[in-house]
């Protein structure tokens, strides 16, 4: 990946759940402001403000089509990659936090079982 330069700005823009949801929607294809606003209980100006942040971070671009200004992901491959990596990271972190608990339970079961050899305690 050669997107190091934009990573900080990208992650700042990604810090907001509404903006992440907008990006997830755009990962599926171009959409108008009305389409992007539909799932949210937000005013169009509020959505437009989020779109502005995403545009300034270089994550999305707008196209002019008559009176419409449909948005799409900029450099779709790279930005969708960042979104995907963030999703993967979150899912793995959840998994491994749960695994910590599983391992702690295994360890205590092991120690309570007199038939198994003693193991070093963490």
């Amino acid at each position: 990946m050669s997107s190091g330069l934009s990573l900080d700005t990208s992650f700042a823009a990604l810090a907001d759940p509404t903006r992440r949801a907008i990006l997830a929607r755009l990962a599926l294809g171009e959409a108008t402001v009305t389409e992007l606003a539909a799932p949210f209980e937000m005013t169009q100006p509020a959505i437009s403000q989020h779109l502005k942040v995403l545009e300034e971070a270089g994550l999305i671009i707008r196209r002019v089509e008559g009176t419409k200004r449909p948005r799409r992901l900029a450099k779709a491959g790279i930005e969708a990659m960042e979104l995907w990596l963030a999703m993967l990271r979150k899912a793995l972190e959840k998994n491994y936090d749960r695994l910590d608990q599983v391992l702690a339970t295994m360890e205590s079961n092991h120690e309570m079982n007199p038939n198994t050899k003693k193991r070093k305690k963490q």
Partner: protein
């Protein structure tokens, strides 16, 4: 990144083709290895975002053995993974191939996982294939078929 700084996990891309994840655990390599190969243990943690369970976990932990994991959420959405073990070296190394069904199968993901003693714990290193763009988009879209509103909530949980 506030709370993220506490995390013990690292995730990096390696070139354009791989992802490398490392994580430390306060348990022996044997225990961590077992948690990766025993279906009863896998079902307790390999669940991704909150709200998902793994009702089906078939795992033949031997070279050439197959596995199949099926996930479901409360709304009835689901997907599954199938895979084969290429190499199993207790309690230090697992090499396997897997693919997700979304519902079409994604290209094979080659995964190498190693478990090395690290003080009184274990350092796990997992190296996997970076999915292509189409696969990544498909994975992001998983769960969206039930309506954008639900998927927005779900995505928020993922991030």
């Amino acid at each position: 990144m506030n709370t993220m700084t506490m995390t013990k996990m690292t995730l990096k891309t390696e070139g354009d083709t791989h992802i490398v994840v490392t994580r430390r655990f306060a348990a022996s390599p044997e225990a961590v290895y077992r948690a990766h190969t025993d279906p009863k243990l896998i079902q307790q943690w390999l669940l991704g975002p909150e709200g998902w369970t793994m009702p089906v976990c078939i795992n033949e932990a031997r070279p050439g053995g197959k596995f199949r994991y099926e996930w479901r959420n409360a709304k009835g959405a689901g997907f599954h993974i199938t895979g084969e073990y290429k190499e199993l070296k207790p309690y230090s190394r697992i090499v396997h191939v897997e693919r997700m069904f979304l519902p079409d199968p994604t290209p094979d993901n080659h995964v190498e996982t190693s478990f090395a003693p690290d003080g009184s714990g274990t350092l796990m290193t997992m190296r996997m294939t970076l999915p292509d763009e189409k696969t990544r988009a498909g994975m992001l879209a998983t769960g969206m078929e039930r309506g954008m509103e639900a998927s927005y909530v779900r995505l928020e949980e993922m991030m």
